[in-house]
């Protein structure tokens, strides 16, 4: 008797035709019975389905969900973005295209004339949000982005900062007084996980 060999199943016995047919039929029948009972239970409301009846019922994701991008605003309504190109550099899909320009006021100095995201190339990794030093771009909770072939798949600055769902725009949380920072602040500490950024909910 060889050691270490575990007998798992009895050797297949020879079965006659009736036994084989019974085997197939019984398993088919029990599967179908399962389907039927669940179907009847759920359709009569005795059992709750996992199906979410979207769009009448909203699907909600966690606070950290990475959906459609939006550009934040300053207190006076202008985009927070200073066209530093860090998001364009960090983007692994190279889908962010920015044209920078001279701002009329010297306090701001640089701003994006054009800020475009080719959303078909975007992989929603969120690197742009992480790279931005001034909290100008965030990936929000909107996930319904399907469209038709002829649609515009390049999101422009106005769309990113100003579309209807943003309800007037989101103000950046970055302290505008960038000339003053305290030594105690640890940029690589636990702050990264916590967020008190305001969110928008779809609908």
């Amino acid at each position: 008797m060889a050691t270490g060999i575990i007998k798992v199943a009895p050797p297949p016995e020879d079965k006659n035709l009736f036994q084989l047919a019974y085997g197939y039929a019984s398993t088919i029948f029990s599967g179908m019975w399962k389907t039927l009972t669940i179907f009847v239970n759920q359709i009569t409301g005795r059992e709750k389905t996992n199906t979410l009846e979207w769009p009448e019922q909203p699907a909600t994701y966690s606070d950290r969900f990475k959906g459609k991008h939006f550009l934040t605003r300053r207190d006076d309504g202008q985009v927070r973005c200073t066209a530093c190109f860090l998001c364009a550099t960090a983007c692994p899909a190279e889908c962010i295209h920015i044209v920078a320009g001279q701002h009329p006021t010297n306090e701001i100095e640089k701003f994006p004339i054009r800020f475009e995201i080719d959303i078909l190339r975007c992989v929603f990794c969120g690197f742009c949000e992480e790279a931005c030093p001034v909290d100008a771009i965030r990936l929000g909770p909107e996930y319904a982005m399907a469209g038709a072939a002829g649609d515009n798949w390049v999101y422009t600055k106005d769309y990113l900062a100003d579309r209807g769902q943003l309800h007037g725009g989101v103000v950046s949380v970055k302290d505008e007084n960038t000339k003053h920072f305290t030594v105690d602040h640890n940029p690589h500490g636990d702050d990264l996980l916590a967020t008190d950024a305001p969110h928008m909910r779809h609908h």
């Binding site: 200073t82 530093c84 190109f85 860090l86 550099t89 320009g101 640089k110 030093p133 305290t182």
Partner: protein
């Protein structure tokens, strides 16, 4: 005459240098990097940034390497912990009042403060008080923007103005941490070497207005080239973003010909290479008196047909001295040697003053290869017969003219008129980089050419020195070819017809 030398020890390496060399110069030549801001090989010693501190023998205080003459047997170290600690604090002091402008500053990516921050390693600043504020984004010259808050007062720009251009237009005003660099009241910088200030400024205090906000420098690739703006032939680097086929700027490269500098005129020599300025496709006659877009091969074929239809004495060449020696050799070996053409004319600007010289680098001959052209002509025995000017061309009675247009248009005010004149000839084939050739409706045979940064070749400057175009970018325009390629294809067609 023997130059005395001195041997000293730098970081456990014995180095021999001519007597009087400073430790900084010695390190620069022997690829030992000593961090510094205010020292520049083309300017006098200032010794103000106090960054290049090194440990010498057993002296108690650290010394600055830029003002330290090498003496025999001296032992210098840049790697001791004491030296590294000194570098950390030198960086800390530089950053104490420096604004957090990196996102909006053009110098990001090539900024010495950023570079040292990563190298020197004092990552946590101890400054937690309000910083000193100074005027920003000032207009101080036709191509300069000055941000006095970013300035680290290294004094390079002041010394440049005093020593190189001898205009003294910059000074440092006020004392202590209120010190600001600036021009004298109501005065601006108005010479032809402004962008060198942008080059030497280690931070984003002086930035180029032309390049302002156009592109982040880490997206740019640079290749060495020779400036085609004038016969000095400064060695340069051309910066482009090849993925979008766009050129952004030209900067000087240190060489014997131009030292560390170049003039502002040469800085504009990237603009004509961009697609919006280019001739983008070949054009040939459509048989109905007009013209149509064709492939380069078709254009060459139709040119061959024209050339066959006349004798050698009816063919003339009009050549601009802006092409490379190799291109001239190819051109003349086909047309002059093979076809027997003897009518060759130079395409020059009638209003040029060849003796003009601004005292530093920019010369009146606005062509990079005048000497190369004369040599190429001499090689095929034509030097004496070359005439300049369109009038001579008109008088020559040529029926088929092949014209190689000047690449750099902005120095050719007569160009539009000249192109118009050309269009009145019987048959002219204009080979050009510039799109303005297309705008003259009467020019019905055009071949697009590559710009200077897109081809290999050599120029000969006014002294005969060879300047090499060795690392071309891919052409910004798909159809563009260089003259060697065009002539080779033409010769092929000629041989097989």
């Amino acid at each position: 005459m023997s130059t005395e030398t001195v041997t000293f020890n730098l970081n456990d390496r014995d180095i021999t240098v001519p007597k009087g060399t400073t430790v900084m110069e010695a390190a620069h030549k022997h690829d030992v990097y000593i961090p510094h801001f205010c020292w520049h090989p083309g300017l006098s010693i200032a010794g103000v940034c106090r960054f290049c501190l090194v440990k010498v023998d057993n002296r108690p205080k650290l010394e600055i390497a830029c003002n330290l003459q090498a003496t025999p047997g001296m032992k210098v170290s840049t790697l001791l912990p004491e030296v590294k600690e000194a570098h950390k604090w030198a960086l800390e002091f530089h950053l104490v009042n420096h604004p957090l402008d990196c996102p909006i500053c053009d110098q990001a990516g090539e900024c010495k403060l950023q570079d040292f921050y990563m190298e020197v390693g004092k990552y946590k600043s101890e400054m937690d008080r309000p910083k000193v504020l100074k005027p920003k984004a000032l207009d101080v010259g036709s191509d300069l923007v000055l941000d006095t808050e970013r300035c680290i007062l290294c004094d390079r720009c002041v010394r440049f103005e005093q020593e190189v251009t001898k205009t003294g237009a910059l000074g440092i005003f006020n004392r202590g941490d209120r010190a600001v660099v600036g021009t004298y009241p109501d005065k601006k910088i108005e010479h032809n070497y402004q962008d060198n200030l942008v080059d030497i400024c280690p931070v984003g205090a002086f930035t180029s207005r032309d390049f302002r906000f156009k592109q982040r420098v880490w997206f740019l690739k640079d290749q060495p080239a020779v400036c085609p703006g004038c016969s000095t032939g400064c060695h340069v680097k051309v910066y482009a973003k090849p993925q979008v086929r766009t050129y952004f700027r030209v900067k000087p490269q240190e060489s014997e010909v131009n030292g560390h500098w170049m003039c502002d005129v040469g800085r504009k020599t990237y603009k004509h290479l961009n697609q919006d300025q280019r001739l983008r496709f070949a054009v040939a006659e459509d048989g109905k008196g007009g013209r149509k877009r064709v492939s380069v091969a078709e254009a060459i074929a139709s040119l061959a047909v024209q050339l066959r239809g006349v004798s050698a004495s009816d063919i003339a060449l009009l050549v601009s001295p802006q092409y490379t020696c190799e291109e001239y050799d190819a051109l003349f070996s086909f047309f002059v040697k093979k076809l027997g053409v003897s009518k060759v004319f130079q395409w020059r600007e009638p209003t040029e003053s060849l003796d003009a010289f601004d005292g530093l680098l920019y010369r009146g001959d606005h062509n990079p290869n005048t000497l190369g052209l004369s040599e190429a002509l001499a090689k095929v025995g034509l030097a004496k017969e070359v005439k300049n000017g369109f009038d001579d061309l008109a008088r020559s009675g040529a029926k088929v003219v092949v014209a190689l247009a000047p690449e750099i248009e902005f120095q050719f005010p007569s160009l539009p008129a000249q192109l118009q004149k050309l269009s009145e000839l019987a048959f002219v084939s204009v080979w050009a980089t510039a799109g303005s050739a297309y705008n003259v409706k009467g020019l019905r045979h055009l071949v697009p050419l590559k710009g200077f940064a897109e081809k290999k070749g050599t120029f000969r400057n006014f002294q005969g020195k060879v300047g090499e175009l060795s690392k071309p970018f891919p052409a910004a325009v798909d159809e563009a070819k260089d003259v060697v390629e065009v002539v080779t294809a033409l010769a092929e067609v000629w041989a097989h017809a």
